[in-house]
Point group: D2
Chain length 383, copies 4
């Protein structure tokens, strides 16, 4: 008989933001239970966080190291099946590496890690281990993102000629890091975030979404990368010209000083026959603009959507699904894949659909190329 | 030490729609665990549904009767704390009554029950029992609904003069019940739905939302109630003129034959100084239109929102929260209230905010008055 | 050889609003020239207004009476071809009657006149004269209104079951008439406006638009008519249940105390197969919501629109056409019809499309029935 | 006594698009009358076009040369006051030059002319002549564009840090020029359009709008310029990184192969304190997004708008003004300025607001720099 998949969390203690998002996303479908965690490197904080989450004391650990070493020794009937890593960027690599080495599947927040060397090492580890590794580029989990991807795959738009992807936020319009706000603080710190600020934090989402939906590969890019808030140590704004292998042109821009913008990831894709438009902040609509007939709006939960779209939808039309539901689609698919593996079954390919280690490496390469281009007088940098 | 609140479910077996919604809503915040269920009156179906949900066999029951009688005898350390009733209307009353009589708290889907007599009996039972009774008028759970309510309460709009509330759906535009589609089937059957179709199913949501946000009471109404699809046995369209105790005027219309509409609940409220507008399908925006300055759009997760709005928000601005999150706000508040009671603590009033037995009775009265008006030649029916 | 059609204006002097709208609408297409006017009953004001408009002194008159009597004697090569009446409601009848009696075509602002008796008398006059009489229910002039009408006519929606038409404005939310604001002043004065306020001023637009687009006739109605601003002498808010001859149901509401609303006329029409939605404030989009395929948005200037839509469009897609262009469509069609008549030619039926005396009479009947219903305890009033 | 200003048109004969736009824009406010024209270089076509426009035969000319030479000899009481040049790009220079040399004011369609040399020569001519020269960058005529400009000028947004301006169209997604469609044909022909296609036709609108609203100057740019439709001889897509003198960053993209897009010019401007957003296709709304309070939507015709906004608005709020009204604002201002000059009066500075020869030269320089950058391997090209 099947059972829930068991999750151990690394990071996400009191005061953290993304850890709770991961927990809600994992819980939503009743396929995963949180069984243990090392929620903070401060033991007391980890303990209190575990208490908040109603975990038994003995499954709350003071470090990921301890957690992995003890969990591996537990009865397989209670032992965690995978770890979820929700720490800042500079603390992804060590726990991910160790989890893989001990034979645990991994779900990891994005970007993959702190630098490119780590990324390649993780890729090798994953490939050699045969374990599942998922990266939470959560925006690919939206039903209408699946629909866009399927429509392009099936050729409805013809060859793709142009992509405009953008991710404006405004929350770093002031020097918020100076106030010790936790989210701002590590994201603008080169010791924690890596070589990029906004381009790593959100630029990689834009890059991932673009390649996921279009199936195209960026071949070269030209970037203008800036820190516009005085004193900021990492970029808070980036504007990038893109060229794709198939000859298509593109623009990618991401900003955290776009004053007043919330989380306005959007993408427009133009083919020979039609254009597509999707906005993360109104995620249940997909606009399809045809050359010679009325514009269409595809909507989550309505008739005539792709199989994948339907498989990532929980509610009837008009019952808005949001950020957490899209995020939960990644966890749900991970759970189905782990479960199937444990039971020696096949998973329907429609559920084998979540960002993986290759997406992670690609994102890290993107960060490096964008920063390189930003510092170069040469127009085009190859990817 | 606190623990998760334990839920037993009545109804919601394989093939049901709203049961799964309740389960996801209950699971989202990690405050509630599903521990048992009587998912169907067919024992085998109940058993299979329990298996889908990874419940132990011994906590899956063949009837609510059996569930309540056995659970009451279990160790308080594992016994369910409340039942969640997610059956069709005609099967709300019996399990709710029995649960209350055995001392279990109750969460019940809307409308409250099958007829007005049952409603009054339940009200007495709840009042005498001292138990918690929540009705899932889930739309009141949205952050921007809270914001609208608080703005009106604080007098920002001045006296309210006019309300336009509407709930158009199109899914019953054809005689779907003839195809034995399960949702259509019981909702159009007077033996299961009660005296009203659309007006009971969704009209009551519109009524509840109106009185919740405005704090006004409908004093009289004039209704035109119709079944527009040939052969349909209950109304699928209703248009109602409203008068409120304070002299305000209003319109309420609900339809399930508004072809092409998804779930387009919306409300507009006009005061002396400004108008408010909220749409369930874009729930994170609240439009406030002033007489003499620029229109404002309040958005979930941004600055300067009411305490209640913030307390019902999980994510930063621009990370869309949807139907399930609003629904989950009801379950989260219920869990907090049960927990506080068990621990002998006070709950922050901001969490004592969910529709209760009075809302349920009010909804049933609304149904009766609307149907009475629909059949009358008299213009106004008092409420 | 053809020539421009010559217009004489009655009303619309300095400080007036709608007169200038008529002049801009008439001028837009270069088919009509303003040749004379009696812009005010105050001779000096009329003279100054004429000067503003660069008219020769001898064609600026102190009264409509004078204008009609003198113009009729002028050389047909310079004499006006029609009068445009842009005075308040109580001053429509006399000039319209006189113009018709002297053989001039008439364009008249809405509603048709001050009371129902006048309406019937004008109807007889028009019918007996053989002259052209146009009423500026300008909202029917929008391209997407034509498109909606044609789609319904051609059966794309199936039988119509429900209509929701609304016209909320907020500009009379305060007792603006007390400040002597000119527009507010006469509209709230029973001596000038007639028996209705908002229902005459804008309710009739809603009624006209509904019957124009759907081709349905209202058979009975039930109205709640109120003056919500203390001291106001005519209604500023009206809510009406509608029944149509074909069995369809409807709602019409119009308000001038919907605080913060601008000029939000909109209509939704639901048939067996699809629903239509049009908003005057975003007039170039027509939403068509199908039962079983993606929602469509038809847009002014794009491909695949009806012949009539195209004939009332001036610009390529994405070049917004607005209120004045729709208004100008009425004048342009009037000019084409007068020109054809003068030249003894046929006009393409696509241009014989403007509201006429029958629309005017219908509007006056609507006003009377709505006010009657508002004062009655009987539920339904026949139309 | 004042009189209407008299216009002579060059180009805009039967089958032309923009000529009729200019005529409607000029006619709207009743300040300008069309008195003569050289509508085509084919004499017969010019004659027929003049007939369509009800012009006397003797004022319809076979060439601009003839028109200018004859008109200058006419009685000043009937002679044209200015010429309006609405020909393709390669035919702007000659008539503009000649008109200026003969002492006529000029209104000219954009871009200014065929090449940069012509631009500089025209600039000198205008400066030496003391005549009025207006260029129809019509999008600056919208009331909400004025409002955006005034808000930035007054410092409400703080220093500007980022601009995103875009102009996607889809009408050249196919090789429309191969069908001999007139508009496509000359715009894609280097002999008629100049060195740029889309970047000249619409990219210059984007550049002009940006500098007009922000008051910033582009200091350097980096462009990717492409013809994506096989066989096309001029660019149909361009993506440009911008840097401004004040240190702000920007993106400008324009395309005519953005399949399904109509005429989607839009601009977003981010300052230290707020962001602005305006879309040409919904021109009456200006979104202002604040860092720490609710988003605002400013609307044409409502209260609290800048003096300039009000001076360029004709209608009350909610009566949509569109493309022609914005275009007409340029003609209206031109007429007011010519009139004042003739009468020796001062014009209110609020009306001395239309794109002029400097905007024209700036646009030509932009075209040259963008094309230069598109062909260069150097990253930044100075402007």
């Amino acid at each position: 008989m099947s059972r829930k998949i068991r999750m151990g969390m690394i990071g996400g203690g009191r005061g953290a933001f993304i850890g709770n998002v991961h927990r809600m996303a994992a819980a939503l479908d009743g396929q995963i239970e949180l069984v243990c965690g090392a929620f903070s490197s401060q033991e007391e904080k980890s303990r209190l966080s575990g208490e908040d989450l109603y975990l038994p004391t003995e499954r709350v650990y003071g470090s990921f190291n301890e957690m992995i070493k003890i969990e591996i020794l537990l009865d397989p009937n209670i032992r965690m099946d995978f770890v979820s890593i929700v720490t800042p960027n500079h603390m992804h690599f060590e726990p991910a590496k160790m989890a893989l080495e001990y034979g645990f599947n991994v779900v990891c927040d994005k970007p993959l890690c702190f630098n490119l060397e780590q990324a390649y090492e993780l890729r090798d580890l994953v490939k050699n281990s045969g374990l599942l590794f998922a990266l939470t580029h959560n925006y690919t989990g939206y039903p209408m993102v699946k629909q866009a991807r399927e429509m392009i795959r099936s050729g409805e738009l013809g060859n793709i000629r142009k992509v405009v992807v953008e991710y404006p936020q405004g929350w770093l319009s002031t020097a918020l890091e100076a106030t010790e706000q936790k989210q701002a603080s590590w994201r603008t710190d080169p010791q924690k975030s890596g070589i990029a600020g906004a381009m790593g934090d959100i630029g990689t989402h834009a890059e991932n979404l673009t390649e996921y939906i279009t199936g195209l590969e960026i071949s070269e890019l030209c970037a203008d990368i800036t820190a516009l808030v005085p004193g900021r140590r990492l970029d808070d704004d980036g504007n990038v010209l893109l060229r794709f292998k198939n000859g298509a042109r593109g623009i990618l821009h991401a900003s955290q000083i776009a004053a007043g913008e919330e989380n306005a990831l959007s993408i427009r894709i133009y083919g020979e026959k039609a254009g597509l438009e999707w906005h993360q902040m109104e995620p249940n609509s997909l606009h399809v603009k045809w050359l010679d007939k009325a514009m269409e709006i595809y909507r989550t939960g309505t008739a005539n959507l792709s199989e994948s779209t339907q498989a990532h939808t929980r509610l009837p039309a008009g019952h808005p699904e949001g950020y957490l539901e899209a995020f939960a689609n990644i966890y749900r698919n991970v759970a189905k894949c782990i479960q199937a593996k444990q039971e020696g079954k096949q998973v329907d390919p429609v559920f084998q659909d979540f960002p993986d280690i290759n997406d992670g490496v690609r994102g890290m390469e993107f960060i490096y190329k964008v920063i390189e281009s930003g510092q170069s007088n040469k127009k085009w940098v190859k990817m």
